[in-house]
Symmetry: C2
Subunit: 216 residues, 2 copies
């Protein structure tokens, strides 16, 4: 299995965590989203990468038969369905929905507002400077984390009990971006507790941006 990944991409980071927690072997193929392309542009916009993933985004997971899976949430569900142990979703449907709802907040309500394409458009279309981008990202990440903190049960020590779930898998990468943009995380003790539990795991440590072959 090959994971097309960018060390700083939170969506790639989610998939790295899940693969590592499941003990699935994979090779990282670094795809730079700012440079490294065949035409001098960013690598992810190369025709050769678009042939793999027409959306020109990371991550993409290439299975051993050449099948390409895209979109981190779809990849996480595939991993869970094909490698059920250790489980990253509870068994009971309402609990599964609650875990998936937490995981969806970074994926659906925050990430699109903080990613490179969006920040680039804010710069080109509205002349946003770094301070304006920080205000923008802090607003949306703050809203999302406040909702998550309100929705989470008490940490035990992971977000939903004694083992990691998709909720923890999606929270850890979100906090990297939150810190990069200077958000004060002290109002989020439940989120920080889940993160601390995750960071104690070797599988999570090996998935970290700074542990990647393309880390800068």
């Amino acid at each position: 299995m090959k994971l097309y990944s960018y060390f700083r991409s939170s969506a790639s980071y989610r998939v790295r965590i899940a693969l590592n927690l499941k003990g699935i072997a994979y090779d990282i193929v670094p795809i730079h989203v700012l440079r490294g392309g065949e035409d001098g542009g960013p690598r992810h916009r190369d025709a050769s990468y678009r042939a793999l993933n027409p959306q020109a985004r990371v991550p993409a997971l290439e299975l051993d038969d050449g099948t390409i899976l895209t979109q981190s949430q779809a990849i996480l569900e595939w991993i869970e369905e094909t490698h059920p142990t250790p489980a990253l979703l509870p068994r009971e449907p309402v609990l599964r929905a609650k875990v998936r709802a937490i995981a969806a907040i970074p994926c659906a309500d925050i990430q699109a507002l903080q990613n490179t394409t969006t920040l680039d458009r804010l710069k080109t279309q509205f002349g946003a400077d770094p301070d304006a981008l920080k205000v923008w990202v802090q607003a949306f990440v703050g809203d999302g984390l406040r909702a998550i903190e309100a929705l989470l049960p008490a940490p035990a020590p992971f977000a939903f009990g004694e083992t990691p779930t998709f909720a923890d898998v999606c929270l850890v990468p979100q906090l990297v971006a939150a810190r990069r943009f200077g958000l004060d995380l002290t109002p989020f003790p439940k989120i920080l507790a889940a993160e601390a539990a995750m960071k104690g795991l070797d599988a999570v440590q090996r998935a970290a941006p700074e542990a990647q072959p393309d880390a800068e």
Copy 2:
């Protein structure tokens, strides 16, 4: 079951389609996202609604025992797990991942960039006028639909074969927003074919924004 819904919310529309396709009975509780609140503000920001959904968003699904489910993707998965017939996901894991990847593009890559909160911030933080908002939305919706069109198989007549899946469920509401912002849809024949197949179904017609009790 009660669905807290806003007629024009694409996330609410997804859930209405899925509930109707499954033949699940539910009552609509309209939650206006622009007005109707107890303090003169928007209804979804009321304390009484936040007590149900701390994220103050629609949709939320209230089960008969009072349990509240949030986040449209998590609700769709819960519906599929608890009401498996008719199936809205194929059985084979790779196909399920491909369906979920299409569904994730509107949910994760487009919706956050076109919703009311985001457009309001573009206005207040960057002084965006209606023309600028149109350029912004068209750019992101266009990118997403181009990716979907490239990833979809030939229509048959739904996005993934003879019956609707989560892909169709998420595409139909996305096209409402695409048209509202004046995007040319002629480059997307596969997407339009799936939409046409969906619009032939009574379940989908009953879920439409204009068929809702709160339609304006």
